[in-house]
C-alpha cells in the first residue's frame, strides 16, 4: 500500500465560491431577508407618519411650503376652543360608545352562544352592519336623521300622530352628539359580539359542568367562569375598539360634517377639515398628532388594566 492511494481515498470537498460563502454568512442573510419588510415599512408607514409629525411643526399650507415654527401650532391649539371641543367630544364619544358597544355586544354574544335554531345564519346576519361600508351606513343614518325627511319623524308625526313637529336629531348640539354615538354603536356591536362569541367558544364546557355539579347559579357561572376566561380577548377587542372609535371619521363627516356649529367634531374630522378643505396642512397635522397621546394612553390602559394576569404574559399562573 503506497501513500499515494491513501491520498486518493480522501474525499475532498470543493471550496465554496465567494457568493455561496456570502449567502452562508448569517449577518448578511439576516439583512437580506429583512430588507423587503423594512423597505415596505419605511415607505408606507414610517415615511407618512414621520412626514405628518414633521408637518405638525411647520406652518405649511396647501400651495405653499412652510417653515419650521416649533410648537407654535400646538400652542395655538391649546388656546383654540374648537380643539378643546373636539377633544371633549372625542373622549365622550369613545367612552360612551365603548361602554354601550361592550355591554350590548357581550349580551348579544351570550345570546348567540346558546343553542338556537338557524344559529349560523343568525350569526351571519348579526355581522351585516359591520360588513356594509361605513359610508353607506352613514348615508342611511343621514337620511334617518334628516330634519325634513326622517323616517322616524314621519312615523311619529304622520303615522302615529304622537308629535306635531319633526324630531331635531342633528340640529342642536346634544341630540346631534347622541345621534352620532347611536350610529357608531349600531355599527360597532357586531365586531364586539362576534369577537366575544369566539372567546366564549374557547371556554371548555367541562368547567360549566363542574360548576353545575357544585350547584352554582347562572350568575355565578358568568361571574366566576365566563368573565375571567373572557378577559384576555376582551382586552384585545377593547383596545381595537377604542382605537377605531377614537379615530372615527366617516360617520361624523358624512352625517354632520362636525356641525351644528362644530359641536360634533372629532379630532379626526377636525384635522381633516382644517388640513385639506381649509388648506392649513401644518395645523391639521398638529391636530392629528395631538391624538397620539390619547391613543397611547387608551391602549396602555385597556391592555394593562384588563390583561395583567401573568399567564397571559407567558408566565405561570399564581
Amino acid at each position: 500500500m503506497s501513500a499515494s492511494t491513501a491520498i486518493d481515498w480522501t474525499k475532498r470537498r470543493a471550496e465554496p465560491s465567494a457568493l455561496a460563502r456570502l449567502f452562508d454568512w448569517k449577518p448578511f442573510l439576516v439583512i437580506i431577508c429583512l430588507l423587503p419588510a423594512v423597505g415596505l415599512l419605511m415607505t408606507f408607514l414610517t415615511y407618512p407618519l414621520g412626514l405628518g409629525i414633521f408637518l405638525a411643526f411647520t406652518d405649511t399650507t396647501i400651495g405653499r411650503r412652510g417653515v419650521w415654527v416649533g410648537l407654535e401650532n400646538f400652542e395655538y391649539l391649546l388656546s383654540d376652543p374648537l380643539w378643546w371641543n373636539a377633544v371633549f367630544y372625542s373622549v365622550f364619544y369613545t367612552a360612551v360608545a365603548t361602554v354601550l358597544k361592550f355591554g350590548l355586544g357581550l349580551w348579544l354574544a351570550l345570546l348567540l352562544n346558546q343553542h338556537l335554531p338557524f344559529k349560523s345564519l343568525l350569526r351571519a346576519i348579526i355581522l351585516l352592519p359591520w360588513i356594509v361600508p361605513t359610508v353607506l351606513s352613514a348615508i342611511a343614518f343621514w337620511w334617518i336623521y334628516d330634519p325634513q325627511f326622517s323616517i322616524i319623524s314621519y312615523l311619529f308625526v304622520d303615522v302615529l300622530g304622537w308629535r306635531t313637529t319633526n324630531i331635531d336629531f342633528i340640529g342642536s348640539a346634544w341630540p346631534a352628539r347622541f345621534s352620532l354615538i347611536f350610529a357608531n354603536v349600531w355599527r360597532g356591536i357586531p365586531f364586539v359580539a362576534i369577537s366575544l362569541l369566539a372567546g366564549l367558544q374557547t371556554i371548555s364546557p367541562s368547567l360549566y359542568e363542574a360548576a353545575l355539579l357544585d350547584g352554582s347559579s347562572s350568575w355565578q357561572r358568568f361571574r366566576f367562569i365566563t368573565f375571567p376566561m373572557l378577559l384576555p380577548i376582551l382586552a384585545i377587542v377593547m383596545t381595537f375598539s377604542i382605537i377605531f372609535t377614537f379615530t372615527d371619521f366617516q360617520l361624523v363627516y358624512a352625517i354632520t360634517r362636525g356641525g351644528p356649529v362644530n359641536s360634533t367634531h372629532l379630532l379626526a374630522t377636525l384635522a381633516f377639515q382644517r388640513g385639506i378643505p381649509g388648506g392649513q396642512l401644518g395645523e391639521g397635522a398638529a391636530i392629528a398628532v395631538s391624538m397620539i397621546p390619547f391613543l397611547v394612553f387608551a391602549t396602555l390602559f385597556s391592555y394593562f388594566a384588563l390583561a395583567r394576569r401573568k399567564w397571559q404574559q407567558g408566565e405561570a399562573n399564581d
Binding site: G259, V261, G278
Partner: protein
Amino acid sequence: MLTTRRNAIGLSAAAMAAMTAAEQAQAQAQAITAADAPAPRLPIESGATLRMLRPVRFVQPDEDVFRANCARFTQQTGVQVRVDFVGWEDITQQTAVTANTGAGPDMIIGFNESPHVYVDKLVELTDVAEYLGRRYGGWLALAQRYGKRHGTNNWIGLPFGSSGGPLVYRKSAVNAAGYERPPEDHAGYLDLLRKLKSANKPAGFALGNAVGDGNGFANWVIWSHNGFLVNEDGSVGINSRETIEALNYLKEMYATFIPGTLSWGDVSNNRAYASNECWLTANGVSLYFALKNDPATRAIAEDTEHMLLPKGKASFSPMAGLTLNAMVFKHSRYPNAAKALLQFLLEREQYDPWLNANLGYWAHPLENYGASGVWSSDPKVAVFRDTMKSPFWIGYKGPISEASAAATAEYVMVQMCAAVASGQSTPEQAAREAERRAQRFFRRR
C-alpha cells in the same frame, strides 16, 4: 352638490335639448357685438402641444362644446390640446401640486382665488385680457376682481364664468303674502318671511356646514348690512357694529325659517323646496332645471321665480358667484400657444355656443355676452345674467388670498351666523369668535 337619480335624469334630458341649441348658437354668436381691436401677437411655438385641467361639467353639453372648441383650435393651429376634467374637490389640490412641482398641465381652470395663491408661478395674461376687454365691451366687476393682481392692472387669471345663487321662490306664496316680489329692504323682507311663516309656507336658508349655500347666505347677511370679513389692507374687520346689527337681524329672520336649517347641507334646501316644504331659498339654477325636467315637479317649476338677493343696505345685490379662473403656468414650454387657446375659447365663435350649452349655469365675464341667446331662452334664467356684475367677492373687502379661501372652507362666517341663530352665542360673542378664527388665517407669514 349630490346628484340624485331624479335630477340626473332631468339633466340628461336637458342635455339633449341643449345639443340642438348649441348648434343654433353657433349662428347666434354673430349677435354678440365685437369691436375691432388688434389681437396680441402670439406666435405659436413650433411643435406645441397643450394640456389643460378644468372642473367637471354641470351638464353634458358643457363638456361636448368645450371639447369641440378645443378641436377647432387644433384644426386651425395644428396644436394638439388635451383637456382633463377633474372633480371639484380635487382641483385645488391638483393646482397646488402642479404649481409646486413645476410639472403637469400647461394651464388649469381653477376656482376664485387660485391664480392669486400661485401668482409667482404664472404667466401674466394682461395682453390677452386687455384685448378681450376692448373687443367685448369690457370685463365685468367680479371678473376684474378675480382676474387682476390686487391693486394693479396686471391680469394673472382669465375668468371664464361664474355661478351665482340668487333667491328662488314660489311666486304664489309671495303673492299670497301681499308682495309682487320679495322686497329689497331688510324690514320689508323680514315682513315677507314672517308672513310666509304664518301661512305655513316658510323660507329656509342653509346654516349648516354647506360650502356653497351656507357661505352664500352668511355672506349675504353680513354684506347686506355693509359688514365685511376683511379690511381693504387685509386685516380682519368682522367684529364691527355692522356685523352685530346683521346678526341681530339674522336672529329675527331665523325665527321664520323652516325647522332644521342648522343641519342643512348643500342639497337640503333643494330637497325641501322640491317637496313643497320650503317656499323661498337661495340656490343656483340647477334647482330650477331639476324641477322643470321632472314631470312630478313641473308645477313647482312653473310657480318658481328667481331674483337677485335683496340688496338691503348695499348698492348691489350682495352675492359672490363661484368663478372659473383660468391660469397659465410658467413651466409651460408653449406659453404663447396656451394664451392663444384661452383667447380663442373666449372669442364669440367659441364662447357663445359654450355659454348656451351651459343653460345659465355659468354666467359670462365680458359685457357684450349679455346679449347671448341663453339669457333670452328662458325668462326665469335671465336673472343669472348679471352674476358677474357683483362688486362683492369671497374675502370682501380684502386682497384675494388663500386666507379668504380657508375662511370660507372653514365656515367662519356660517358658524358665526349659526351660533347666533341657535342661541348658543350672543351676536357680540359670535363676532369676537369669528374675528379670533379669521385672524389665524389672515395672520402675516
